[in-house]
Amino acid sequence: MTTLLSAESSLTIAGVTLECVQRGQGRPVLLLHGAGGPRPSAPFMDMLAQRVRLIAPTHPGFGNSPLPDWFDNVDDLAYLYLDLLDRLDLHDVILMGFSMGGWTAAEIAIKCTHRLSKLILVDAVGCKFKDRETREIPDIWALHPSEVNKLTYFDPETFAPKLDQMTDEQLQMVARNREAAAMYLWEPYMHSPKLLRRLHRINIPTLLVWGAHDGLATPEYGRSYCAAIPGARMEIIEKAGHTPQNEQPEAFVATVMRFIEGK
């Protein structure tokens, strides 16, 4: 896929070109999107951009970010974003990741936190807590799409993507995002077998934000994650599933801003 990225909306880090939204002023927040792809026009993005400086790259393979042929896992993403922090010479960064972006954020934080001040994991995946015959995250590629929607959203009627209303171009972007998600998440399924053993290395204040009705990474899964990170705490967003930032943007933004501002 060829992509055309304007200079102001893209960055090239160590040979990897990224679509990247930069909006707002103040504390830098590096925001890593989930497997559904970037949502630059989502209401929560507007709300956050009024309060902080948002830096929201699109992972290679998603959206308009090209996919280098050597790129294939979440560890590649983690090193890429460590390079991005260096390149932009950012300090005191709030690192916030959603779902697989949360996994990526955790992989960054176990490696190096010297440019980070706080970590926010939102309905993150990436860890495995139970035995080999207990799949903690439902296999989204073996379930009917309508079932996946029920697990993902508190209110699928309102929030599930409306494929029947999309243009061909939008549907092709959905296809591209699905493919990229599968590349990063297929096997081991949505986790790194090593991550749980490394979470103890996270040495910055960490907040986990979870949708009360997340059927993919359940609140129970979130509590296990929280328990593995020293000093971390967890906030539940009511009436929200896997994407509380979309289903309850006000409550979500209020929750993360309290943590960012240290209240």
Partner: protein
């Protein structure tokens, strides 16, 4: 024209389709009764043996976690055929090498069969149907690259005879590759690769491999074959119709009525293929353009529920009395520019043993001899051949 007989060895004795979500991937195997299944295996071997007796070549394929096909290992089936048949070429079409974790093992198995059969193996490699990314747990992302790396490794394993070589690839690692036995045929068994769209065909044509296409009817088959021929011409390389194969459902009856009735039974293969979207359209399998269409609800190539008359018109089923079937085949052969191999799915679903045997017999006696007179492709790719 060479004719190859195959059956997918289905297990059709299932509860009503409304009671299960999918015939593939997640249909519980409690519905497989070993007493019934074991007999089915032996029956299907009898049919292959009979096809060998009457002068047909044989084809075997494999599918996984499905009642549509009881052969999750084409190698195992073909190993048996290598021992119980005498004349037929034995085509595996094929090994789903993008889904196999160990290509060296595939090279070994194929070499064993080639030796068992004294060099009768024709070795196909297939990308595999979309449903099987689930059963193999292999992602469809970069599947084509993985396929070709596996191919390259297998070819090198077959053709290296001076001790181990090392392979540290993108997808496969083997530091000491040194297979025993090596293939019976030298330098290696003929290679076949299936293609369903013209875009996949260049690398196949470059290597002069046989390409086979399944149920692609008239227009798509012609596009694929034309692309193959054009590529050979572009390379200034010789072209022969024996590089091209077409697979379809085929039933010959004593009368048209009997032929149509048998063909309708074969169509269980199409109508019985109940598969939900998550297995039909795994991420990374199809192009973004195709996925966009599928997300809008378009059907896939293997998702047909048309009546027999339409399927005959489309060239995906051939059925009738011997004259009728010959005429259908002649028309298709001519329309797509000719091909040298006809892959016959001659048994499917509830088509019983006696009907299957009669159709094989009628095809071999009444139709096959006439196919040899089919005029060659009307558009030879090069003047040199």
């Amino acid at each position: 024209m060479r004719a190859w007989y195959f059956s997918e060895n289905a297990y059709p004795y299932l509860p009503d389709a409304s009671t299960y979500e999918s015939i593939r991937v997640n249909l519980p195997n409690k519905y497989f009764d070993p007493k019934v299944g074991a007999e089915l295996y032996h029956r299907y071997f009898d049919e292959w043996q009979y096809a060998d007796d009457v002068g047909l070549d044989l084809m075997v394929n494999e599918h996984h976690q499905t009642a549509t096909n009881l052969n999750p290992s084409a190698a195992v089936v073909t190993a048996v055929l290598a021992r119980i048949t005498k004349k037929a070429r034995l085509l595996i079409l094929g090994n789903p090498i993008a889904n196999r974790r160990d290509p060296v093992r595939v090279a070994e198995e194929m070499s064993m069969i080639d030796n068992y059969s004294h060099g009768r193996l024709e070795c196909g490699f297939v990308r595999g149907v979309p449903y099987e990314t689930s059963s193999s747990n292999t992602t469809a992302v970069r599947m084509v690259e993985r396929f070709w790396e596996a191919h390259d490794l297998i070819l090198k394993a077959w053709t290296s005879h001076d001790g181990p070589f090392s392979w540290e690839g993108r997808f496969f690692h083997h530091r000491q590759v040194n297979i025993w036995p090596r293939p019976f045929q030298q330098p290696h068994p003929p290679v076949w690769i299936t293609t369903m769209t013209p875009s996949q065909i260049l690398r196949v044509a470059d290597r002069n491999y046989v390409t086979a296409t399944f149920l692609t009817g008239y227009d798509q088959t012609k596009r694929i074959f034309d692309t193959y021929r054009a590529r050979r011409q572009e390379l200034g390389a010789p072209m022969s119709d024996d590089r091209l194969a077409y697979a379809a459902l085929l039933f010959v009856g004593d009368t048209d009525e009997a032929g149509y009735a048998g063909a309708r039974k074969l169509m269980w293969y199409l109508t019985g293929n109940k598969v939900p979207p998550q297995f039909r359209n795994p991420p990374g399998y199809a192009s973004h353009e195709t996925v966009a269409k599928l997300l809008k609800g378009a059907s896939t190539a293997f998702d047909r529920s048309s009546p027999l008359e339409t399927c005959i018109e489309q060239g995906i089923v051939f059925g009738g009395n011997p004259d009728t079937v010959y005429e259908q085949l002649r028309r298709h052969h001519e329309a797509v520019g000719g091909y040298g191999n006809l892959l016959i799915m001659g048994q499917a679903g509830f088509l019983e043993h006696d009907d299957t045997m009669r159709s094989i017999e009628l095809f071999a006696k009444e139709v096959y001899p006439r196919l040899k007179d089919l005029r060659p492709s009307s558009e030879p790719a090069t003047a040199s051949r």
